[in-house]
């Protein structure tokens, strides 16, 4: 049972939750990212996700390590889907269990924010009027150090 994985199959949220439930957990916080139809005036028809799979799974594990360090009693599981996703499909499911609720909320937030910073996964929007790789690919964001902030090497 892999706690951190990239899949081409639809995500079963309950399976992700079950991975973190244990007898000393008193709270499970779940974050589910779904495909949104409207972004401002733009209407999404569907999304395509691509990943550098082995590295993405390693980076997800790193996020798990970060959470473990900050909230030692936490247990984390993350599944991210790739391939073609339709509106309202689940793209990512994060479950974090802790003894008490406060830590679970904070840790699951940490996980999704870090996914957006360090995990090599890309989203291509197929709008009604064109397509675009998301993620500042027009070069408006620079990484002067050659990497985003807070990346461990």
């Amino acid at each position: 049972m892999k706690l951190f994985n990239i899949t081409k199959e639809p995500i079963n949220n309950q399976e992700v939750i079950d991975k973190v439930i244990h007898h000393n957990a008193g709270a499970v916080s779940v974050f589910i990212g779904t495909v949104r139809e409207m972004t401002g005036e733009k209407q999404t028809r569907y999304l395509e996700y691509e990943a550098y799979v082995p590295m993405a799974e390693k980076q997800l594990e790193k996020i798990g390590d970060e959470i473990q360090e900050k909230w030692p009693s936490a247990k984390t599981a993350i599944t991210h889907r790739i391939g073609t996703l339709q509106i309202s499909d689940v793209a990512v499911a994060i479950a974090v269990s802790t003894p008490h609720r406060q830590d679970a909320f904070e840790a699951s937030r940490h996980a999704i924010e870090r996914i957006k910073e360090i995990v090599p996964i890309w989203k291509k929007e197929h709008y009604t009027d064109g397509e675009e790789w998301v993620g500042n690919q027009k070069g408006t964001k620079k990484y002067p150090e050659g990497r985003p902030e807070r990346i461990e090497k």
Binding site: G33, A56, K116, E117, P120, I121, K124, Q137
Partner: protein
């Protein structure tokens, strides 16, 4: 020989995700980037891509050795 991996917009422009380059090593990331574009044509946005060697992020100053796999990682957009 070094193995290059491209993703998202970079792979789309290149028309491929994988390229092998026969380079004299050790070689800098910058040189690899130049050779790659000599071979494939200009890749818009590669200057802003992060670099991972053998699945770990590295600084651009790192030296690439024979047999390494270098991935150019455009700004990510998971979640």
């Amino acid at each position: 020989m070094v193995q290059i991996l491209l993703f998202a917009s970079l792979a789309q422009q290149a028309g491929t995700q994988k390229v092998s380059l026969d380079l004299e090593t050790p070689v800098t990331v910058e040189k690899v980037r130049d050779h790659l574009q000599n071979q494939l044509g200009e890749l818009n946005g590669i200057e802003n891509a992060l670099v991972a060697v053998n699945e770990e992020y590295v600084d651009l100053t790192v030296e690439i050795k024979n047999g390494d796999t270098i991935a150019f990682i455009p700004p990510v957009s998971g979640g």
